[in-house]
């Protein structure tokens, strides 16, 4: 049944492509309905799926001569991310309600992206996964290049090339694994059982991991992320930060780490203090956390702050993965979900509620607008979102980052302090931008230029409520997701990972 998430999205794409351009309302409704339908399907599966273990959905031969299969399956990790995709997709449509330029095309690209994302999370044949992964690249380019703002063409091209280079690295790794195993199969669980030589894993693992991690915004390959997020239209930034970056992290876990667990082993020698790829990537993740936060602290553009904060928060995901601790990886998956929701919310405030109304993102200009009075709803939303984002207990981010930190403590005690530092800087930049944008005081005795702005619309309110409620729900009762994530991590797929980590 879950496969319908993919089919619904792509069917909607075709409907939208055939729709005449002037039927704006129909286009919106089609997009919204398909997003809701896909989410409903996911939700239904979520309720039925009690254990979180791997369940096959469809498995038919596809290119029999090459041993490729059309193999869709879902476990707890996939389900978590599918839920995330569904929620962010609905919210994204709601926050794009004001798009008037080439509407049906916009939603067609949008849903193509969503369909690709659903596909990645459901694929258990590696080539199929890769195909969906690449399908998601092209719509991103057009969403940004056509409907974006600041330097949109540059940002779109940068994003597309980074993604494509990353996926090229992944492709090489996948082909190498396919050939080296000689098993003529691309089935994830079968390949995961194949004992690749340590030497082979040692070079393929970093290739594939970095390939995916580029999309997850790993430092120093993160530079596409801020520019891309900034240039993208609201819904696209929500998807980019909310879901697409998770594709990368998901790939790191599901493909790189599951297939080549020995690639994480020690090299047997030390180079610049690093003893394994794991050390290298953990350090990069930590640098990403701190660096992203520091850069966010000095930005002048509202959206760049959020863009860099995404880099910082995704650092936690990668760090969690590199801990190789049960709790750290749990945390990483939960953080993917949490950050997806929160980044979506933050970008919705920045892009839709503020920028679409004030037409500026310069902090200096926003400071004089007294937005907390003019747009109280936006201010309240942003306050809640930033509280959640700095990891206040009661919101989803807290439990997730806490787990990552605990995992890190066991694996890399020193990095825990650095990551903690990142959190503290995170408080600082969030605080700063909140103060400046929403609670800024107009210059002394100048009559504040409180221009009346269009009021917050109903779709925006609904979207906000959806995202906030999700974050609070997961923050208060993370067990809802953890109960399916934890068993998924104990499936045979990740056996190699745990075996490796015990050495």
């Amino acid at each position: 049944m879950l496969a319908w998430t993919i089919y619904i999205s792509f069917c909607a794409v075709f409907v939208l492509l055939l729709l005449p351009n002037r039927m704006v309302r129909t286009a919106r409704s089609v997009a919204l309905l398909s997003a809701i339908a896909a989410f409903a399907v996911t939700l239904a599966a979520f309720w039925q799926h009690r254990s979180g273990e791997l369940q096959t959905i469809t498995r038919v031969p596809w290119v029999a001569s090459l041993g490729l299969e059309y193999h869709l399956a879902a476990d707890g990790i996939s389900l978590t991310l599918l839920l995330l995709t569904g929620i962010v997709a609905i919210a994204g449509v709601l926050f794009s309600w004001n798009i008037t330029h080439r509407v049906s095309e916009f939603f067609a690209f949008y849903l193509a992206l969503i369909g690709g994302v659903y596909g990645v999370f459901l694929s258990f044949d590696l080539l199929l996964l890769f195909i969906f992964y690449e399908i998601a690249i092209i719509p991103k380019y057009f969403l940004i290049a056509i409907w974006g703002s600041t330097r949109r063409e540059y940002a779109a091209m940068k994003l597309a090339l980074y993604s494509f280079i990353g996926s090229a690295m992944v492709l090489i790794g996948l082909i190498a694994a396919y050939v080296a195993s000689g098993a003529r199969t691309m089935d994830l669980s079968q390949l995961a059982q194949f004992p690749f030589t340590v030497h082979f894993q040692m070079w393929v693992f970093p290739l594939v991991f970095v390939g995916f991690a580029i999309l997850a915004g790993m430092w120093p390959f993160h530079t596409w992320a801020p520019t891309g997020h900034v240039a993208a239209p609201t819904a696209a930034s929500m998807l980019l930060a909310g879901v697409v970056m998770k594709l990368g992290a998901y790939g790191c876990l599901r493909v790189a780490m599951a297939l080549f667990p020995r690639g994480l082993d020690a090299w047997g020698f030390h180079l610049l203090g690093f003893g394994s790829w794991r050390d290298v990537f953990a350090l990069m993740a930590v640098i990403g956390i701190v660096y992203g936060a520091l850069v966010a602290l000095v930005q002048k553009d509202f959206k760049f702050v959020i863009g860099y904060s995404s880099v910082s928060h995704m650092g936690f995901v990668l760090l969690g993965l590199m801990t190789l601790q049960q709790i750290g990886i749990d945390g990483a998956v939960l953080q993917m979900f949490s950050h997806g929701i929160l980044a979506g919310l933050l970008f919705a405030v920045v892009g839709r509620m503020v920028y679409d109304r004030t037409h500026t993102r310069e902090l200096a200009q926003l400071q004089t607008m007294q937005l907390s009075k003019v747009l109280p709803f936006a201010a309240a939303t942003f306050v809640i979102a930033s509280m959640a984002s700095i990891g206040l207990p009661g919101f989803s981010g807290f439990v997730a980052e806490l787990q990552v930190l605990i995992g890190t403590w066991h694996a890399y005690p020193r990095f825990t302090l650095l990551a903690g530092l990142g959190i503290v800087i995170g408080i600082a930049y969030t605080w700063r931008v909140m103060q400046v944008v929403f609670f800024g005081e107009p210059a002394t005795n100048q009559p504040a230029n409180v221009a009346p702005l269009p009021p917050i619309t109903m779709p925006e309110r609904i979207g906000t409520t959806l995202l906030v409620a999700t974050s609070v729900l997961i923050g208060l009762y993370p067990q809802l997701l953890l109960r399916i994530i934890v068993p998924a991590l104990h499936s045979p797929l990740f056996d190699g990972l745990w075996k490796g980590s015990q050495q």
Partner: protein
């Protein structure tokens, strides 16, 4: 000595004969019955005749599956060859269809007849394992293509391109002939399998090395591999669109098949090695160098192009580079992979030239600026171009992606899965990432840039939309279910191998 088997020869060559007759019929109809008619009518009737001829040829080929080796490899027919012939005929038909709304020439029937004759020579080219016949067919093909390139008499570019093409072609033919003579002198035979049987031992005769290089120079010219590519940008830019499309598609497929035959069958035993640690002299390292040059230069230079035709020319070199990997891998898997890639590439580039022709006809040029806002002026053609270019870039789920995947995995699994050619594959994949940049530039012009203020919607001829739609649909279909084509190719290759 057995008597010369005329009857058998005749029966084997019925397809070629039908095609030649069609060419004559086209000429005759135009000369006798349509003298007074308008050009469009003449074009349409000529096209219809050619299509009928091609269809008949395909029908005949399909109907009589043959397994023959006549006159010691002079005519070799097997399911694989027949399939390639069918593909070539289909490509010809698509080219002919693209000609429908052209207006660059009054000499309609001559143009069509030349295309058909070129097709005949390609069919000969793929159905022989004899050096002499290969050379003859190649020359005949080249001559037709020179003329097709020069066909737009009103355009200086066209003439210049044809001259360049001719000069380079002549030189390369000389190289090829020299190489072939050396091979003949070396082996005392013009049959590829016989030549192969005379090559043994690990050390190669210096003469043989010279021959290999000469042959690669000659055939490298045909497939437009760097550094034998100088004619390509000019020809792609200057030739009339259907000619360029034909050069880029049909002749590419045929040339690659011949290159494969000469190298893998004719020079079996002289492969050498180009894997990372085990270099050995032979044709593989030479081809590897050519492949690397083609991929790097083609992709990097394409970035700087503003003319879409020249861009396609450089991208053609890049794709030639990828396909060369398929040849130098010469494994059991690599022939179907190569053919899959070549066929899907040919179809795609044909469609792309069709769209370029459409744009040129309506905006008067083929630079990126002329493509601006095309998606709002001709949505269907734009969407098809979207698919073509993404397929060329290797984006799934289009045929181009699967072609690359299959080609690279075939290259790596040679001979045992030692991943020896991984360096080439890494380079190829990296370069295809670069290629996305310039394909996206074209798509950006089409989809993102706003059309000029005075732009009216472009009226696309129905036939063109049909051709584009067919090609686009087949690319999606072949990408999603590659087995449709792959099944046939592998089956045929297996049959040939098991014989």
């Amino acid at each position: 000595m057995t008597p010369f088997p005329y009857a058998e020869l005749f029966s084997l060559l019925v397809p070629q004969i039908i095609l030649v007759l069609t060419a004559l019929a086209v000429l005759a109809a135009d000369a006798f019955f349509l003298r007074a008619a308008d050009t469009p009518v003449r074009i349409k009737s000529g096209v219809v005749l050619s299509l009928i001829g091609c269809t008949l040829t395909i029908a005949r080929t399909l109907h009589t599956p043959l397994q023959a080796n006549l006159l010691d490899g002079m005519i070799v027919l097997n399911p694989l060859v027949q399939q390639i012939q069918i593909v070539l005929l289909l490509l010809t038909m698509l080219t002919v269809l693209l000609f429908v709304s052209s207006s660059f020439t009054q000499h309609v029937s001559e143009y069509l007849a030349l295309i058909l004759l070129a097709t005949v020579s390609m069919m000969f080219l793929v159905s022989t394992q004899n050096l002499l016949l290969i050379f003859l067919a190649l020359e005949m093909l080249s001559l037709s293509l020179y003329i097709l390139t020069a066909f737009n008499k009103s355009s200086g570019q066209s003439a210049e391109a044809a001259l360049k093409y001719f000069l380079f072609g002549g030189t390369s033919a000389a190289f090829l002939l020299f190489g072939f003579s050396l091979l003949y002198g070396f082996s005392n035979s013009t049959n590829l399998t016989h030549i192969a049987s005379t090559i043994h031992g690990s050390s190669l005769d210096p003469l043989l090395i010279v021959a290999i290089v000469m042959v690669i120079v000659g055939l490298g010219f045909k497939v437009a591999a760097v550094p034998f590519h100088f004619w390509a940008p000019d020809v792609y830019q200057g030739a009339p669109a259907p000619s360029a499309a034909f050069i880029a598609s049909g002749s590419k497929v045929a040339a690659f098949y011949v290159l494969y035959q000469v190298m893998v069958i004719g020079l079996a035993g002289a492969e050498g090695g180009a894997t990372w640690h085990t270099y050995a002299p032979g044709w593989v390292p030479v081809l590897a160098i050519v492949a690397v040059l083609s991929m790097v230069l083609g992709n990097l230079v394409a970035i700087r192009q503003t003319s879409v035709r020249r861009l396609l020319a450089y991208s053609a070199m890049a794709h030639a580079g990828y396909m060369l990997i398929g040849i130098l891998a010469h494994s059991e898997q690599s022939l179907p992979a190569l053919l899959y890639y070549a066929i899907t590439y040919a179809v795609t580039v044909l469609g792309a030239f069709g769209v370029v022709a459409l744009v040129e006809a309506n905006t008067g040029g083929d630079t990126l600026a002329h493509f601006a806002g095309l998606s709002r002026r001709a949505p269907i053609a734009s969407f098809c171009m979207f698919i073509f270019l993404l397929s060329l870039a290797g984006i799934p789920p289009l045929a181009g992606f699967f072609g690359k995947f299959y080609l690279f995995s075939a290259a790596l699994s040679t001979p045992a899965p030692t991943l020896g050619l991984i360096w080439l594959v890494v380079l190829a994949v990296a370069m295809s990432a670069v290629s996305l940049f310039y394909y996206l530039r074209v798509l950006k012009a089409i989809y993102v840039t706003d059309p000029p203020a005075d732009a009216a919607p472009i009226r696309t001829p129905f036939v063109h939309n049909l051709v584009f739609g067919l090609i686009a649909a087949s690319l999606v279909l072949l990408g999603c279910t590659p087995n449709l084509l792959l099944h046939w190719l592998r089956h045929a290759v297996d049959l040939v191998a098991s014989r």
